[in-house]
């Protein structure tokens, strides 16, 4: 492979005719851009919505709400701890020493 032969390949490739765009190419591009505008997130909430699917956020919020409700209810009903906890202490901690 000598330089003139390589140059000839380049020169011939240069002559390759460029295809013309189809008639509706420009309209197609504009339509694709319009589509992107519609799909683009507009607010911070929208953007967060893309990162975290809405159902996951709703489910997470529900779980947190339930935990708070349970803890709050337990605390109001028995501020010093649950009956189960007292029973456990009596059976496993104090009994050993008592025996």
């Amino acid at each position: 492979m000598n330089d003139p032969k390589l140059n000839r390949i380049f020169a011939t490739a240069r002559r390759d005719v460029c295809p013309t765009p189809t008639e509706d190419f420009a309209r197609g591009v504009a339509a694709a851009a319009r589509q992107q505008i519609r799909e683009e997130p507009r607010t911070l909430l929208d953007q967060l919505g893309l990162l975290f699917p809405r159902y996951a956020v709703a489910a997470g919020a529900l779980i947190v709400l339930c935990i708070f409700a349970e803890v709050g209810q337990t605390f109001l009903a028995n501020p010093e701890g649950s009956d189960e906890f007292t029973e456990l202490c009596a059976q496993w901690l104090y009994t050993a020493k008592g025996d």
Binding site: T12, D16, P19, G28
Partner: protein, 188 residues
């Protein structure tokens, strides 16, 4: 900047999509002319051109109008071409190498004054030989040897220094020659 382009760009920034279609119509041939050096399939070429114009549309706010719009558009087009070459390079590593057509191979193995080479055959030979080149080397050698651009122009289009462009072009040419010698000998 072209006065008509300036008017179009101002109206596009205000949200006129019809004007954007007009801008595409005005410059589509320029984009096709650059991209068809890197993609021979017509549908894939249109996809690349669309990708280019969508990038232009998204980046329009960054265009300050100091350089002609055509230059800015060319830079974006060349970047799309480079991304395309990178994707193709990755894909080429996964698929079997394409075989050269009989006519192209015959010409390549011919004596000192073989018959005239067809443009399609030349592109076929180059496409096959360029597979050993990096995406940047492919881009530089195509811009220099096929598009006939100067080192300064390539430097402005790619964002590489003039020295880097020269080195890349020399390396690409040497690699191409080696690849073509292998093809002449019938090696893959």
């Amino acid at each position: 900047m072209d006065i008509e382009d300036a008017g179009l760009l101002a109206r596009i920034r205000q949200g006129s999509m019809d004007e954007f279609a007009e801008l595409v119509r005005r410059h589509q041939q320029q984009v096709f002319r650059i991209l068809h050096r890197y993609e021979r399939d017509r549908h894939a070429l249109e996809d690349l051109a669309q990708e280019t114009f969508l990038k232009v549309w998204r980046a329009l706010a960054q265009y300050d109008g100091r350089a002609p719009f055509q230059h800015w558009l060319s830079r974006i087009t060349v970047r799309v071409a480079l991304d395309h070459l990178r994707r193709e390079k990755r894909r080429a590593n996964e698929v079997e190498l394409l075989q050269l057509g009989e006519n192209a191979l015959e010409w390549l193995r011919g004596a000192d004054a073989p018959r005239d080479l067809e443009a399609g055959e030349a592109r076929e030979i180059l496409a096959r030989a360029m597979r050993g080149l990096s995406a940047k080397e492919q881009l530089v050698i195509t811009l220099q040897e096929i598009e006939g651009r100067s080192v300064k122009e390539i430097s402005a289009l790619t964002g590489s220094s003039g020295v880097a462009v020269r080195v890349r072009a020399l390396r690409a040419r040497a690699k191409l020659k080696k690849a073509l010698i292998r093809l002449e000998k019938g090696e893959t």
